[in-house]
């Protein structure tokens, strides 16, 4: 009986303790006297896998860039920055020779060697491993370790774009599996400035500083990456101090720019969101119809209303990149009269009906509604079908659409987007899901890709590609996107294209 009473007391004490802890936590107010060494970062989507060989999504990528290192990475100026590699040489136009830094240690203490690099690429090039990076690595003839610290890649033929496909995070041969499955995806071991301490899916990822990092170790001790699906709640937590770094709803950006305690960073991405067109469709296969659709909508207006932070797009080439040549591009100022004329010339004076598929989401719904309004004025009756992403995506995948709207991401090189209009990439062997065929464009794509080390010659070819693209309109350009991030101004941080969260290694509290 006595024992029971004691336990009762204990329970009571425990409850009180819990209550007090709760109150203390509630009352806590962020920074103390000493500068902090932790960081609370909020995101709306969780990582998928922390095995970089299997990761393709942005949210896994953001974590993996802190856990692992690549031979080199592409910085915010689109330039190559060596990382694990000490040197990169090109003995001839199909050979890439990397020398590794010595003494780089994985989080388990083993040294990184050329064998790990070879292993990483070989598993991704193995069809049975099922890596999403398999296709990008097809141009590689061989990858070999010449000695403990030298790796040689050989391309099948001269290829200007292959270098971007060599930008992969290196996994340890002695731990990472060569078959899908296993626990490496959630117990990752890399060489990066942070180690994984804990990953509760859809809750939190805790990263700890890796003391033995081969460059200067991180200044932050801990990073808590918190998964908070609602943008409004992330915003509230940021304002309240529970988060130090997060995106915010675009409607709040202007307000945050004024806010004395926060810094807003933003850049234009290398992403392009067009209206995908199915060229197997009898009506849409006609150039005049596609041009009429472009003339029939005030895209600048539409984009500024629906996608607040986006920039209206003119072609598949991204402004500010080396190949972008606006002077050769044909533009389509809003002109409903001209659109009607073109439709009449194409044989559709009374217009036609067409469907647009997108995934669900407020902006997509608004986009469809406004587009429908514009096109009704030129006699085109647009039906907008939305479905959740997986369903939409499988329709896109199978070419089961007339018009569709979503994006392409990360054009480190113009070829990465342009090749999707190559007739050789019509599914199942490629991502030309609109089945677009244009021999002239095919030839330019092939030729430009084979020119290694002469960017000007490539740029010249791409001028012609841009002229063709904007004249023929294989897709109707809609928007380029921007990415914003907001952080506590006491944190030393910078938000840059490509580099993104890599900066966290050097971040600290002022």
């Amino acid at each position: 009986m006595k024992k029971l009473k004691l336990r009762g007391n204990f329970c009571f004490m425990a409850m009180m303790l819990l209550l007090v802890t709760a109150l203390v936590l509630v009352g806590q107010d962020g920074a103390g006297a000493n500068p902090r060494s932790d960081l609370n970062w909020g995101r709306g989507t969780d990582a998928t896998t922390l095995d970089p060989r299997m990761a393709r999504d942005v949210y896994s990528h953001e974590i993996n860039m802190l856990l692992y290192d690549e031979l080199f990475y592409i910085d915010h100026n689109q330039e190559i920055q060596l990382l694990l590699a000490k040197t990169l040489e090109y003995p001839d136009d199909t050979t890439y020779l990397f020398t590794l830094h010595e003494g780089v240690l994985f989080h388990d203490g083993e040294e990184l060697t050329a064998e790990d690099v070879v292993y990483t690429f070989e598993t991704m090039m193995d069809p049975d491993f099922g890596s999403p990076h398999y296709d990008g690595l097809q141009p590689i003839e061989s990858v070999r370790a010449l000695d403990r610290y030298t790796v040689e890649f050989k391309a099948k033929e001269p290829d200007a774009v292959l270098i971007y496909d060599l930008d992969h995070r290196i996994v340890p041969k002695h731990i990472a599996p060569d078959r899908p499955g296993g626990d490496f995806a959630y117990r990752p071991v890399g060489t990066g400035p942070f180690m994984l301490e804990r990953w509760e899916p859809n809750d939190v990822i805790v990263l700890k500083k890796y003391e033995e990092y081969f460059r200067s170790p991180a200044k932050l001790e801990t990073i808590n990456v918190r998964y908070i699906p609602e943008a409004e709640v992330r915003f509230t937590e940021l304002l309240g101090g529970a988060l130090d770094l997060s995106d915010v709803p675009s409607a709040e950006l202007d307000r945050m720019k004024e806010h004395p305690d926060f810094t807003v960073g933003g850049y234009t991405t290398l992403n392009y969101f067009p209206i995908f067109v199915q060229h197997d469709h009898e009506i849409l296969s006609q150039k005049k119809v596609r041009q009429a659709l472009a003339y029939g909508v005030d895209m600048d207006e539409l984009v500024s209303v629906v996608f607040e932070t986006a920039i209206p797009a003119t072609s598949v080439f991204i402004p500010g990149t080396w190949a972008y040549a606006p002077e050769v591009q044909r533009t389509y100022e809003y002109n409903p009269e001209k659109a009607k004329e073109l439709l009449a010339e194409a044989g559709y004076p009374d217009g036609f009906s067409i469907t647009l598929k997108t995934s669900t989401g407020t902006t997509n719904v608004e986009f469809g509604e406004i587009l429908r309004f514009y096109w009704l004025q030129i006699g085109v009756d647009l039906e907008h079908q939305t479905s959740e992403w997986s369903t939409y995506f499988s329709a896109l995948q199978e070419g089961d659409f007339e018009l569709a709207h979503s994006g392409m991401v990360n054009a480190f090189d113009p070829d990465i987007f342009l090749r999707r209009y190559h007739s050789g990439n019509i599914p199942p062997y490629g991502a030309n899901r609109g089945h677009y065929k244009n021999p002239d464009l095919d030839q330019i794509i092939d030729e430009a890709r084979r020119i290694v080390g002469d960017q000007e010659a490539r740029a010249e070819l791409y001028r012609e590609a841009q002229r063709i693209y904007t004249e023929e309109l294989p897709n109707i350009p809609v928007r380029y996107t921007q990415m914003h991030m907001v952080w506590n101004s006491d944190l030393d941080f910078e938000w840059l294209l490509n580099t993104q969260f890599r900066v966290l290694r050097e971040s600290y509290w002022k």
Binding site: T48, P201, N202, E230, E232, S394, G430
Partner: protein, 306 residues
């Protein structure tokens, strides 16, 4: 009693079996493919087929089903198609959070719903009754995600009293439990009220009054006990629905339970996780129902289980 429970448990077996068939076929006829989701936007058809093969998704559908059910019988729910984690431990780690949330919300809804419903019934058509009815109606009608956001706006953003997201302390539980419990509170209030009104008019209550019992005894000793029967059914059902309804509340408060997690995995077509969760929920629903039926016996001695 034990025979009754045993009988109910045996009856549950075919139900669970049918659940596995429905869950499996519904999810497999859903458009979209986990491999395509992993591979991302620029994947080719060929690449998707390769990954499907590696994931074992290209095997005949009946083989996949039998493997899944066979696994469950041995306590193996398979592994996630996304990160390779084992499904059962992953779900079990998250289940307590949701159960805690549902129980807290039911606690809130019953301690509000039953007394308010009783008072409302005793004072039928008074001003108090009208107020209660309006609030009950509001409680049922307000979408819980909206209420959740409003609570965050007030208690986290304006007042800074409670954390807006996460789990760990009692303070983290308060707003999600209120947001989730409000609808049930409204429902329980309305049900208690109508059930009380019905009982109060019956003969045995008149008899109780006429033999001179104190009004309090009449209401709480006789009427309420009888009125609670339908309420018990609803509380039991609400517990089941709460598991599902927690999905939205969990999303709003970034509460690491099982509901929103499974929803996310459904969007990613991580079938083993979704199927495992639906199976667990079906099992829990059945157990809650058996428990509810047993609870009747305590409230109404006329109900026997032999």
């Amino acid at each position: 009693m034990q025979t009754y429970i045993l009988k109910r448990l045996i009856q549950a077996i075919p139900v669970l079996f049918i659940v596995t068939i429905i869950v499996f076929s519904l999810l497999h006829f859903l458009p979209g493919c986990p491999a395509a989701n992993i591979l991302g936007e620029e994947a080719t058809g060929e690449q998707i087929q390769r990954l499907r093969e590696a994931m074992g998704l290209n095997r005949p559908i009946h083989i996949q089903y039998l493997e899944w059910v066979g696994g469950i019988l041995q306590g193996d729910f398979g592994t996630s198609l996304r990160d390779g984690r084992e499904v059962f431990p992953t779900l079990m780690r998250r289940l307590p959070a949701t159960v805690q949330l549902v129980i807290a919300s039911l606690f809130i809804s019953t301690i509000i719903g039953i007394p308010v419903g009783v008072i409302s019934a005793i004072r039928q058509n008074s001003l108090l009754d009208s107020f209660t009815r309006i609030f009950a109606l509001l409680g049922v009608s307000i979408p819980n995600f909206w209420l959740g956001l409003m609570l965050i706006l007030l208690f986290s953003y304006q007042l800074g009293w409670l954390p807006a997201s996460g789990r760990g302390t009692l303070a983290h539980l308060i707003m999600p439990a209120i947001a989730l419990g409000t609808a049930s509170a409204g429902l329980i209030t309305r049900l208690t009220r109508s059930s009380m009104l019905e009982i109060i008019r019956t003969d045995f209550i008149r008899t109780a009054r006429s033999k001179g019992l104190m009004e309090r005894r009449v209401i709480y000793g006789h009427a309420l006990k009888n009125a609670l029967l339908p309420v018990t059914t609803i509380v039991g059902l609400q517990m089941g629905y709460g598991l599902g309804g927690a999905l939205i509340t969990e999303a709003v408060f970034a509460y690491p339970g099982i509901g929103h997690f499974t929803y996310e995995r459904l969007l990613a077509r991580d079938m083993p996780v979704v199927m495992g969760n639906l199976f667990l929920f079906a099992l829990m629903f059945i157990l809650i129902n058996i428990f509810t039926d047993i609870a009747y016996g305590f409230l109404d001695p006329r109900i026997r289980y032999d």
